[in-house]
Amino acid sequence: MKLAVQLYARARELAGQDHVELDLDEPVLVGDVRQALASTVPDLAPLAPGLLIAVGTDYADDGIVVSDGKTVACFPPVSGG
């Protein structure tokens, strides 16, 4: 399954791009996305354990299945306000 993961804040800056294209075997779990991001973009690897992943507009734990067509985003802890 091809997946474009949107990146924000320090994750976007470290990757040098606002999204990363991944090609993963189904079923795809959020934890698989986390691992693939770390291996595809080595600069993200040190941060990977602390990155948050959202499927659609909801936060998703590593055990959640990512269905085809869903928007996936990855970013560090938030600091709005």
Partner: protein, 147 residues
């Protein structure tokens, strides 16, 4: 009203938007750009959001607040982009029949916004360095980064 904007926040207009004859109290919280943090001098902050998710999470927060307190009207505006010292970065306004509920609902909205809404700030320090603010991240990394 929920709004993400690159323009200065009109706090007077936001306050007026929550006035209602059913309400006896309006609480407005403004977050502003602070100069000193842990002894370091800030010149400016840059704010970035994941807009679709930020708006969805703000809607959820408001829904929860309205279930817990008798909120008459509400409005949340968060600014994005480059902000100078003293600029208003976020404004939360709630009106309720009585002040206790207005204070509690307003506090819940700003506290929870800071915890879960996907918006980030980047510090521009006076020594020329910049640094994203990601609470707790470095303690979870294998090789902490400082920049």
């Amino acid at each position: 009203m929920i709004q993400l904007t690159h323009d200065p926040i009109d706090t007077q207009q936001l306050t007026e938007s929550v006035r209602d004859n059913a309400a006896g109290a309006i609480v407005v919280f403004l977050g502003t750009v602070r100069e000193l943090t842990d002894g370091r001098r800030t010149l400016a902050l840059d704010y970035e959001a994941y807009p679709e998710m930020a708006e969805a999470k703000l809607e959820e927060l408001v829904e929860t607040a309205c279930q817990r307190w008798p909120v008459t009207r509400w409005g949340i505006v968060h600014r994005l982009g480059h902000l100078a010292l003293g600029d208003v970065s976020v404004a939360v306004a709630v009106s309720c029949p009585h002040r206790d509920a207005a204070f509690e609902a307003g506090r819940f909205l700003i506290d929870t916004l800071k915890e879960i809404v996907p918006i980030w700030k980047k510090e521009n320090f006076s020594d020329g360095s910049t640094e994203w603010v990601h609470p707790g991240l470095d303690s979870k990394t294998e090789n902490p980064l400082t920049g």
